[in-house]
């Protein structure tokens, strides 16, 4: 009896879910169908935001959703884009490639033509072929893998952040050219982003021949103790550490380095150039160099956006908020300029129209990278990142 009852309920529930899933889709089709024929009659413009929105990487993905919502709100207050109300459709992928393909096909099936995302390079690489086939414009606030744009395989892909190679070069050049260090220990967090940065940096240093890479190693992210690798850096005689990764690990390493009396230059990447790093590392953050897009604090658009965020969500914006904001701005602006969501027109508009964004005044080059987004080196001084001149 009980078994029967249970299986029946389950079957009904599954069937129901399936029906809901399909029902939704059909409604969507009905709503979208007239839009294809007469854009003016359509009421809404759906902006997909894909990325990690749950799971342990959620903190990198959620700020972009907030950013998109803020930008959408701004446009909607002005009467929408070409009369279309902007609607933000978040789509979680937990930064997993397989979930990213699910998210992408879902967005494609719902006839979304603009997507902000994905957050992680791996997920982006998995999802892009699907968008490419469906002619969806994709703009990532955070995927920095060099090959995404430079390989030329994804003409529908844009990003509001610069990529590993440029960043690695910037960091390496700063180390050898400005700091004039001779022995560099390159450390990364074994992640896609961190290792990409570290490898670019290593290559750049080796090609520059001004300094030597004395050590190239990955650390285990989430570890409680990095003393062994720090002792190793010490033993290698390095006078500078180049670290690729995110702020949680960076802060742990810096703090523990100082505890062990190792006070050498620490150069790192945009994933660390976040105020959270300074809070996490406290006084030990002082003097750390990080490369990052030349923006933010003194950028008017950013200040306004951050204030909006504070008002709307009651907290300071998180990682990649500025980039996500910029992505939403440029995409919606392109639609407005193109007059429709037609793929070719939107792409053309993205490549020609400058927009004032939190990451600067940008438009996109032929490969999809934002022109005007480059890297500068910042240093923590008195609890703040300031531009190194």
């Amino acid at each position: 009896m009980k078994a029967k009852w249970f299986v029946t309920v389950l079957a009904v529930a599954l069937a129901g879910m399936l029906a809901v899933g399909c029902g939704e889709k059909k409604e969507e089709k009905k709503a979208e169908a007239p839009k294809q024929e007469a854009p003016a009659a359509a009421k809404k413009l759906v902006l997909g935001v894909a990325g990690a929105q749950s799971g342990d990487l959620a903190s990198y993905g959620l700020p972009s959703v907030n950013a998109a919502k803020l930008v959408a709100k701004e446009w909607n207050a002005k009467g929408g884009v070409n009369g279309m109300m902007v609607e933000v459709l978040p789509m979680d992928d937990q930064c997993k490639p397989e979930l990213a393909t699910n998210a992408a096909t879902k967005l494609v099936s719902e006839k979304v033509s603009l997507v902000i995302g994905h957050i992680c390079s791996g997920a982006t690489k998995a999802a892009l072929p699907i968008y490419k086939d469906a002619k969806v414009v994709v703009m990532s606030p955070s995927a920095t893998s060099t090959e995404l744009t430079q390989s030329g395989s994804y003409p529908n892909f844009f990003r509001t952040i610069s990529y590993d190679l440029i960043q690695g070069n910037a960091a390496a050049n700063f180390a050898t050219g400005v700091l004039k260090v001779k022995k560099i220990a390159v450390i990364h967090d074994k992640g896609d982003y961190g290792k990409g940065f570290a490898e670019s940096g290593q290559k750049s240093i080796e090609e520059g021949k001004l300094a030597k890479v004395v050590m190239f190693e990955g650390i285990t992210p989430g570890g409680v103790d990095y003393s062994a690798v720090i002792q190793k850096i010490k033993a290698s005689g390095a006078d500078c550490v180049l670290f690729g990764g995110y702020y949680p690990e960076a802060s742990k390493i810096v703090v523990q380095m100082h505890k062990k009396g190792l006070k050498i230059a620490f150069i790192t990447d945009d994933g660390v150039k976040d105020d959270t790093f300074i809070k996490l590392a406290g006084v030990d953050a002082e003097g750390v160099y990080a490369t990052g897009p030349q923006i933010l604090a003194d950028n008017e658009v950013f200040k306004k956006a951050a204030a909006e965020h504070e008002k709307e969500f009651g907290s300071a914006p998180g990682s990649f908020f500025a980039q996500g904001y910029a992505a939403a701005q440029t995409l919606l602006n392109a639609v407005a300029k193109a007059g429709s969501t037609d793929y070719d027109k939107v792409v053309a508009a993205l490549r020609s129209e400058y927009v004032e964004t939190p990451v600067g005044k940008i438009k996109f080059d032929a490969k999809g990278d934002a022109e005007g987004v480059s890297f500068s080196v910042y240093q923590v001084k008195d609890g703040k990142y300031v531009l190194v001149k």
Binding site: L14, M17, E98, N102, S109, T276
Partner: protein, 410 residues
């Protein structure tokens, strides 16, 4: 009658009240206080406490009512010596109904991509991959009782086999598919040997370690595996050199998967009731008695590992072809745990159960997208609830009833 009902309700409400007060107290600091050590601010959110109190009261009410039902059912079952077979499963096992039902199911499955969107087809392909993975792990864990927490390693082996061979030598999907299976089996045996002596949870931790080792090697040995940045632009399966669009390719993979699922169901169902399958069951039930009855435990274990791994290797190839991109992050311990959850939630040893489990665990999060932020919360809670109320899984494994040749038996 009315009186007992009243008393029952009062008892339930009282229990639920106590539970709700306890849970509210328990969650008080975390629900109410939010300390931001970055901004040095403390936020008090007292409304959350009210939500929690009301919510937990309702949930506790449902919990105790269900619990009561469960315990009464349990007590009833203890009194009976003969296992009861539910009307539904009787219905399902009756060939008169089962055959047309299966045919109908097959027709629906075959027609699916023509009536539903790319997204629906795509997540169904994912679900089917996990059906096969579940059935594979079901051999190792469900039938042979070897708790394998590193199953995803074989999945990774298959996926990287295809990705690397495709990347370097442009080998096609069909050429690599059998190779993935063979390599999967090879690694299955490789893992099987050192762990033969271990039992229970020691086996679990070693397999977990094995899974981690494979992933870490893929992550760190960049020259071989391209490290954490993974391998992209893997070819989708083609046929006679035709290039498909994403939609067509997904449909194509859908049918490949449908065929593989049917094949796997066929193979595992047959294995389950074969000489080998019985040996696995015996191994699971009692290792010592099993060996004492003349079964070569070593062989049976290795075979279980190898067969499970073969299916995982096979699925790895399909996975790589489907997502066109793989990196080590897809093969974490959590993935192994998910596949294990499919097996256990569905019902260990039951083919139908594993299929249900896979569909549930893979489709539930997709259809729960509407609740996006809360979906993993609901997911975790569902896992606990199913285990508490149906600890043997959704479908209990049934043993075959053999036909006896009466003449021979005399």
């Amino acid at each position: 009658m009315k009186d007992t009902l009243m008393r029952y309700v009062v008892k339930l409400v009282r229990q639920a009240l106590v539970a709700s007060i306890w849970l509210s107290f328990l969650t008080l600091p975390i629900m109410v206080i939010r300390v931001d050590t970055i901004e040095q601010t403390v936020t008090w959110r007292w409304m959350h406490l009210a939500y929690m109190a009301v919510g937990s009261f309702v949930l506790a009410l449902a919990w105790y009512a269900m619990m009561d039902r469960r315990d009464r059912g349990q007590a009833k079952k203890d009194l009976e010596t003969v296992e009861r077979v539910s009307a539904l499963s009787q219905f399902l096992s009756d060939p008169r109904f089962a055959k047309p039902l299966m045919a109908f199911g097959f027709l629906v499955a075959a027609a699916f991509p023509w009536f539903f969107s790319l997204y629906q087809t795509n997540i169904l392909v994912s679900a089917m991959i996990y059906v096969v993975l579940g059935l594979g792990l079901n051999i190792t864990v469900g039938l042979a009782g070897l708790l394998d927490l590193g199953y995803v390693a074989f999945y990774a082996v298959g996926a990287y086999t295809y990705a690397l061979l495709n990347h370097h030598f442009h080998l096609g999907f069909w050429a690599v598919l059998p190779l993935g299976a063979v390599l999967g089996a090879f690694f299955g045996i490789l893992l099987g040997f050192p762990v033969l002596r271990l039992r229970g949870d020691y086996l679990a931790i070693v397999t977990l370690g094995f899974g981690q080792i494979i992933r870490l090697v893929l992550e760190n040995w960049g020259d071989f595996s391209y490290g954490p940045s993974g391998i992209s632009n893997i070819d989708r399966p083609g046929l006679f050199g035709i290039n498909y669009s994403v939609e067509q390719a997904t449909t194509y993979i859908y049918y490949i998967m449908l065929a593989l699922v049917i094949l796997t169901i066929f193979v595992t169902a047959r294995l389950k009731d074969s000489r080998i399958g019985r040996a696995w069951l015996a191994l699971r039930e009692d290792e010592i008695a099993c060996q004492a009855m003349g079964i070569d435990n070593t062989r049976a274990k290795l075979m279980a590992f190898a067969l499970g791994a073969t299916l995982a290797g096979l699925m790895g190839v399909v996975f790589a072809a489907k997502t066109t991109f793989i990196n080590p992050a897809s093969f974490t311990f959590m993935e192994s745990a998910m596949i294990l959850a499919i097996v256990v939630l569905g019902g260990m040893g039951s083919v139908l159960g594993v299929i249900l489990g896979a569909f549930m665990l893979m489709l539930l999060p997709e259809y729960l997208r509407a609740f996006s932020e809360y979906r993993m919360l609901i997911f975790g809670a569902t896992m606990v609830l199913i285990m508490v109320f149906r600890p043997e899984g959704l479908v209990r494994a049934k043993r075959k009833v053999y036909k006896i040749n009466v003449e021979a038996a005399g």
